[in-house]
Structure formats: C-alpha cells, structure tokens
Symmetry: C2
Subunit: 253 residues, 2 copies
DNA sequence: GAGTTTGATTAGGATCGGCTAACTTTTTTC
DNA sequence: GAAAAAAGTTAGCCGATCCTAATCAAACTC
C-alpha cells in the first residue's frame, strides 16, 4: 500500500496543519518521550476523542508522511512529524512561561490557555516571546523548553520520586502531569518545582514525604510524576536553605 | 418560514462560536460602523470567501439569532450579535496594542497576528493584557478599543482627510484600512497616527499634502481612510497641542 | 418600462474531523 | 491453547464550511 512516488511536499511546517493534527502529533511525541507507546486508546484519552477517531486521523497523518504505523500497533513519528511535534511543544511551553511570568497567570492556569494558543501563534510571536523572556529553558511545570533549533534537553539527573529510597533528600524540579485536577492537587500539597523534600519512608501505596515541615503520604500515582533532583549527600543537610511554612507559593515571576 | 418558538440559548458568549462565525459577525459590525451596508459581496471580499458561502453562513447566523436578514438585502446584527462582534473587536485591538507595545511588533505586523489570536484568547488573557497596558483606548492604527463593558467611543471630532479644504492643518489620528498593501503604503508615506499635516491643495484624484517637510499627492482612495484631528486655528502652526472643542480628547499611542 | 448588468441565492458536491455500532485482531486468563 | 476480555478498526453517518455552476432578483440604462 505504501508508495514511493507520492507528492513530496518539501519543508512541511506546522503552519499547514490543522490544530487537530498538531495535537495528535504533539501527544504522540509526549507519550514516546515518556517512554510510553502511543496507542490508539492512550491518544484518544489525551486528545479527548473516541478511539475510532484516532484511527482515522492516524491514517491521514500516515498518508502525509508524518507518522508510521501498522494496524493494531502503536504509532511512531517520522522525522518530519517529530520536528513539527517539537515545534508545538516549544510553542506550548514558551507560552506557559510567558503567561506565568509576563501576564501573571497562576501555576494551574497556564496549561489550558497555552493549549489553544500553541496552534495559532506565528514564528514571529514565538521569537519575540523568547526574546522577552531571554530564552527560558523551563516552563512553570519544570518541563524543558525545546530550543529554537528544536533540541530538547534530557533530564538525566532527575529521578522519579516514586523510586527514591527512604532518607533521600532532593528538590522537586518537574511535574509531568497533564490533568487539571491532578495539577490542582500538586499545588494544594505545595509540591511545586523548587521545593526541597525528603523521603520519610515508603509505603505500598506511595511515599511518605517530608516537605516544608509537614509530612504526608504522596500517592504512588502522583509520585511517579514528580521528578526530583537528588541531593549528593543524603545524610548531610540540604544544600539550599529554604525552609519556612511552605505557604508562600513559589511563583516564578 | 420564520418561527418564534426557537430554542433560546441564554447568554451566548463569543466562546461558543467558531472562528469563522466570529469573523462574519466582526466584519458585519465593522462595515456598519463605517456606515456601509453589510452586503453579501462586501462580506465575501473582507472575509475572503465566495458570495455563496456568505449566504450560507448568514442563514446559520440568522437561525442562531445573531443577525437579522431578508434575502437580497444587507444584514444587520441583533443585539446579541453586536455584543459578540464588539467583544471580538476588543480582542483584536487590545491584541494589536499588546503586540506593538509589549512584544515590539512593527506597525504593519500586528494585524495579521491579531486576526488569528482574537478568536482564541480567554477572558482572562484579555483581562491580563488590559491590566498590563493600563486599559489602552487606541490600537496602533488609532482605532478605539471598546471598553470591558463593550462601550465604543465614537470619533466625532475626527474628519476624513479627503474632505478637508485647502489650508487645513491637523494631526492624523486614525488609519481605517484593512488591506496589508494599503497599510504598507501608509507607512512608506509616513502617514501614521500622530503625524501633523497640512492640506496644500485639492485635486480631482486626491489631496496634496504637506507632511514632515515634504509635499505629495495622497490618492483619494487613501485619503478617505485617514481620519484627522483638525487644528482649531488653521492659520497658527502648532506641532503638538491638545485642542478642545469642548470635549476632552485622550489618546495614548 | 424592457432589457441588461450586477448582485444574491440555490443546488449539488467536497473535505475535515468528529461520532456510533459492528466487526476483527491481539492479549490475557485459566 | 481455547475462551474471554481488551484494544483497534471499519462502515456509515453527521455537521460545519467551503466551493462551482446555474438560477433568480434587483438595480441601472436608455
Ligand atoms: Mn492544543
Ligand atoms: Mn507545562
Ligand atoms: Mn479573525
Ligand atoms: Mn487595528
């Protein structure tokens, strides 16, 4: 079924794709980036459509050379598809940083707005915002912002909170959650990027955590999405002296 | 064919309409605001579709109670339709001011970007931008920005350059053009809002204008879209002063 | 005021992206 | 390894928005 003589559009930019197509590519990328297979069902959940719709769209994207797929198996991005996906991710995270820093959005308000704007802003807008913010490399959730050349830094030194042994100390650097309610939970628990934490113990259902003077159970499902920068010497005091009641939320303004 | 017992949706916000629908409402409003009938053909030109498409969309908008129309006649907005249209206009002009002032866009670059963003930003975004800019009342073209309550100030003291008699002096306050090429022309001629001008004479094809030390013919078609704040005493030369016809005129550009 | 020109509408069709219901394939369970 | 469960696909449909071509109405023209 695959033909080699199809019309080869040179340099397909994200601009020529519909917001819907862009969202599919982005979610495939994010799933792969999180080492998960981009299955029909997962995509359907993330994008908010029915599985049948995903199948249909993936076929169209495959025809355009943006994904490679075999029926009943997870999809993968082609190089072209990946490039576009990263471009959208850059838009999204740059916008989140902008909304947070320049317009004073709250931590939990940025995602939804960026979700819509990411498809609409021009390269000029992207550029101007990057200038204004002096090329930020993290969004408010701690997610790395791809560079203009679409290079994406890996967080190799970060560890999932869920895997830390008792006694570990470190700093929360990244919250890899999409869901609005889950984000609200993180905010209520004051587990934002920058917070110093210590693992008080492990449970079957999660992790007992010491943060900002209080101690509570972080459910495993949540802990798996908190990436921590582990302090070099678990026995010594934490490098960053930043205690307090934890109430004054760490907004990066 | 028209029935009175249609489903009456309460408080329809612009958010529930498609970008396309929003553009139709906006263009109807802008045409009416410029004292032009919103005909099928004019709308088709402004929106960039064929007349047949306009007829189709107007029918749908009429069904939703946003416009009133009779076949072969110009359309009018209902109160609901007008409210939505003004909301979009506010978005558009606020965005233009923001792009210009905060992101450093050039005068001729703002329109296109605002055209896409206006349909996508949330009320929160609108609000935050308005705060950041301290409630601006003009966009970079001199067009008035509707207030949050959707009140739109009229430019009663402004006159079309095309109608000024020889010897008139004044200041360009507003450029009511949509077309990109026309805007570029205005910029090349340095006829931007704020420029002091004097009418050196009238021609059948336009107006001979003195501006910034040089003198040239402004084609009638262009002159009709330049709104001028006429100086009270045509004989006295004054580069920049606030005159008063009994009405306070505040504009920040 | 009959005819012509211009403007508007209708008819029919395409594309896109979603849906449901029915069917097929893969995976899991025992 | 057969049956059941889960996941994925197909077929058929729908609404939104655009298009072209043909028709109809209104507005000028003389
Ligand atoms: Mn999106
Ligand atoms: Mn983020
Ligand atoms: Mn628009
Ligand atoms: Mn403007």
């Amino acid at each position: 079924m695959n033909d080699a003589g199809e019309g080869r559009e040179p340099h397909k930019g994200s601009a020529s794709l519909s917001p819907s197509q862009q969202d599919y590519l982005k979610q495939i990328f994010l799933l792969n980036d999180a080492s998960q297979g981009a299955t029909t069902q997962l995509l359907a959940e993330r994008i908010g459509v029915r599985p049948a719709s995903v199948t249909g769209m993936l076929k169209r994207l495959a025809e355009e050379g943006l994904v490679e797929r075999a029926p009943y198996r997870a999809v993968h991005l082609t190089e072209t598809g990946r490039r576009i996906a990263v471009e959208i991710v850059r838009h999204h995270r740059l916008l989140e940083a902008f909304l947070s820093r320049t317009l004073g959005y709250r931590w939990d308000e940025v995602h939804e707005e960026a979700e819509a704007l990411e498809h609409v802003i021009s390269e000029r807008f992207e550029q101007k915002v990057a200038e204004l913010l002096a090329d930020p490399d993290r969004d408010p959730h701690g997610d790395p912002i791809p560079t203009r050349e679409l290079a994406l830094k890996e967080d190799e030194h970060l560890t999932t909170l869920a895997l830390l042994p008792k006694g570990s100390r470190g700093t929360i650097r990244r919250v890899t959650l999409q869901d609005q309610d889950a984000l609200n939970l993180v905010e209520r628990l004051d587990l934002l990027p920058g917070r110093a934490i210590e693992v008080a113990g492990t449970h079957p259902d999660g992790i007992s955590l010491l943060v900002g003077g209080s101690r509570f159970l972080v459910p495993a499902l949540l802990a798996a999405h908190l990436l921590v920068d582990v302090a070099p010497h678990p026995s010594s005091a934490q490098p960053k002296t930043r205690e307090g009641t934890g109430r004054p939320v760490a907004h990066e303004q």
